[in-house]
């Protein structure tokens, strides 16, 4: 049979595509049909089942913020996933409280998704509410003023543009907040 593919282009093409489509279909089309949590927004009101809260759609301002985040390629250096690793839950945690693990239902409205593949800067999956407005403004102007040793680029054109800054801030402060994970709701504004 293999020898046939040597001589007939049509047979070779057909076989190569069939083999490709088996894996292609089973790993891209089927999973969202099997695992409903990929498409159903997070909602939980029962504290015995973990953090409570509800994922709400993006506001116009947050959408604008996500567009800026995308435009500047923030996701090349900041992941947005607290993985199933103890270290991740500690590092995404804050003031002694561990972060809950990221679940698919927290990202249902993300377009584009911002999971990221490289962690040059810290993970931002639970950054919402950790730092206040003034901190972010100073940090975007020059990250090294607040964090010596950081290699994040400065973003003066965002820090100096109130409209862009507020939009990006709204987006950042939203991250990871669908799960209301802080013990006393001690989020910064």
């Amino acid at each position: 049979m293999l020898n046939r593919a040597d001589k007939s282009a049509g047979f070779a093409i057909g076989a190569a595509l069939v083999l490709f489509f088996i894996g292609g279909t089973l790993t891209t089309v089927i999973p969202p049909l099997v695992d409903k949590s990929w498409g159903r927004p997070f909602e939980n009101h029962d504290p015995s089942k973990g953090p409570t809260g509800k994922l709400r759609p993006y506001t116009e301002l947050e959408k604008h913020g996500l567009a800026i985040y995308t435009r500047e390629g923030c996701w090349y250096c900041h992941t947005q996933q607290t993985r199933t690793l103890v270290a991740d839950t500690k590092r995404s945690g804050w003031r002694g409280v561990d972060s809950p693990i990221s679940t698919p239902d927290e990202f249902v409205y993300d377009q584009p998704h911002m999971f990221g593949t490289k962690r040059t800067g810290p993970d931002l999956s639970r950054v919402g509410g950790k730092y206040n407005t003034q901190w972010h403004r100073t940090h975007f102007r020059n990250p090294r003023d607040l964090t010596p040793g950081s290699v994040m680029p400065p973003f003066p054109w965002i820090a100096n543009d109130e409209g862009e800054f507020q939009a990006l801030l709204a987006y950042i402060q939203r991250l990871g907040r669908a799960k209301d994970w802080r013990p006393d709701g001690d989020y910064e504004q």
């Binding site: 293999l2 593919a5 040597d6 001589k7 282009a9 070779a12 093409i13 190569a16 595509l17 083999l19 490709f20 894996g23 292609g24 790993t27 891209t28 999973p31 969202p32 099997v34 695992d35 990929w38 995308t70 435009r71 390629g73 923030c74 090349y76 250096c77 992941t79 996933q81 993985r83 199933t84 690793l85 103890v86 270290a87 590092r91 693990i101 990221s102 679940t103 698919p104 990202f107 409205y109 993300d110 377009q111 584009p112 998704h113 999971f115 990221g116 593949t117 490289k118 962690r119 040059t120 810290p122 020059n142 964090t147 040793g149 950081s150 290699v151 680029p153 400065p154 003066p156 054109w157």
Partner: protein
């Protein structure tokens, strides 16, 4: 000739007999454009490496900020340099293996022109911050549509040539080229268009299917097609074993597409899908080892040729890097290893070994081999070509090894939450400096390679090379 050994079809007819047949205009245009972009994007690559060492560098210019230059670096190298260079090789190889002229040189030249529009469009649009926000699929939708059109033009031309071929038996390279053209069509549509209709984890899953297969089902098969053609050609040895090439090809076409989810191990994606991705990632060893065994077998008793055959040097070190990078890949997908190396600087070390160390080495070898034949002259300077090899080799090894060590150390530190994150950043400062210096060496490689080819084209053979 031991049983099972095959020469690239058409070799028997002798190269000289075919010499008058091919005009190769398309191959020439693709080759020259790709080398020009290799140089231009090389500058971008150096710039972003420098930004890790001097974060304020060009920091007040929005168009030149890291987050906008990085997609230009990645897309520029993939779709500006490597893919068009591989396409030039395909336009060179396919008519020769089929014993006929390219189906349409006019269509080919039009494809080359369109391809340049796409890359120049990317050079303007990506720094302007216009991007889809999806890895490897950053090109704005307008450009992605042009890519699809160019790919169809490419496909028609190559399939047109294959269907009118004179030799019935198709050499391995032709299977890989046909596979590349077809798989790419679906992989590219998934990554650039299907992703636009999905969100969240579903989109990420499609995105990583594309990212993984952009390498696995675009650059791997076309790169192997190039290597399968040029290793026997450059060494004038028949291919070691035909059956082994079949094992390699058919296992690749089945196994590769399953593994996208290994980019999200431990992440918010279904555990069963992660496990499937891990299982199939381990199976990737089959197509890889089959290919590498075949290449090494071809060189049996011929290793002395490496001493002064520059294309062969690139091809065989590319093969070694292929073996290494494709050993790393499956190992990264093991959960325990992944917990350390994932998201660290190890990963760019791994990715550069695949796309620079392996597939760019194959493409460079091809360029050195075909340029004198395309322009009916001799290579400008063999000595300079040898220099370019050592620049790439030392720069590349410096880059890979430093990032592996640094990345492993970084991952180890991350797994100890007592270490503040910023300290893990500071720990990498020296690593990034060495990476920049290695980048300078690699850039010297690009310059000497590009100069050598350009000088060959304008026909200045250096005597006493």
């Amino acid at each position: 000739m031991p049983e099972g050994r095959v020469a690239p079809v058409g070799a028997a007819a002798g190269q000289t007999a075919q010499q008058g047949l091919h005009t190769d205009t398309t191959a020439k245009w693709f080759l020259l454009s790709s080398i020009a972009y290799f140089f231009i994007v090389g500058i971008v690559a150096l710039t972003i490496a420098a930004k890790f060492v001097w974060p304020e560098l060009l920091g007040t210019v929005p168009y030149l900020t890291y987050g906008r230059l990085r997609p230009l670096h990645v897309n520029g190298m993939l779709f500006g340099w490597l893919l068009p260079c591989d396409m030039a090789m395909v336009y060179f190889i396919v008519p020769r293996l089929c014993g006929v002229k390219l189906w349409s040189e006019k269509l080919g030249v039009a494809t080359a022109a369109l391809w340049n529009v796409i890359v120049l469009g990317a050079v303007v649009m990506l720094p302007a911050g216009l991007n889809k926000g999806l890895e490897y699929a950053e090109l704005p939708t307008s450009l992605s549509v042009l890519v699809v059109i160019a790919w169809i033009m490419f496909g028609i031309n190559i399939f047109g040539t294959i269907l009118t071929r004179k030799y019935e038996q198709m050499y391995v390279s032709i299977w890989y080229i046909m596979g590349t053209i077809l798989w790419t069509a679906f992989v590219y549509l998934t990554g650039n268009f299907a992703t636009q209709f999905t969100t969240g984890v579903n989109q990420a899953n499609l995105n990583w299917m594309y990212v993984h297969n952009a390498v696995g089902l675009i650059f791997t098969p076309v790169g192997l097609a190039v290597a399968y053609y040029f290793i026997p050609r450059a060494s004038t040895q028949p291919l070691y074993n035909h059956r082994l090439s079949m094992v390699g090809f058919w296992s690749l076409s089945f196994v590769y597409v399953w593994t996208g989810a290994h980019h999200m191990l431990h992440g918010p994606i279904s555990q069963w899908l992660q496990t499937i991705a891990i299982a199939f990632s381990l199976m990737l060893l089959i197509p890889v080892w089959a290919v590498v065994w075949n290449f090494f077998g071809t060189m049996k008793g011929q290793w002395h040729q490496l001493r002064d055959n520059v294309p062969l040097k690139f091809l065989m070190s590319g093969t070694v890097f292929y073996l290494l990078t494709c050993f790393q890949g499956p190992m990264h997908s093991l959960r325990t290893v992944n917990a350390i190396v994932s998201k660290t600087d190890w990963i760019p070390g791994h990715a550069h070994m695949a796309l620079l160390g392996c597939f760019s080495f194959f493409a460079i070898a091809g360029a050195y081999y075909v340029a004198p034949r395309l322009w009916r002259t001799e290579l400008h300077s063999d000595a300079l070509a040898n220099w370019s090899f050592w620049f790439f080799m030392i720069g590349g090894l410096g880059f890979f090894v430093t990032l592996w060590l640094g990345g492993f150390w970084q991952g180890w530190q991350w797994n100890n939450p007592a270490i503040p994150f910023i300290d893990t950043v500071k720990a990498l400062h020296p690593v990034w400096l060495v990476r920049f210096c290695s980048g300078v060496l690699m850039f010297c490689g690009i310059v000497s390679f590009a100069y050598n080819i350009m000088a060959t084209v304008v026909n200045r053979r250096e005597e006493h090379a």
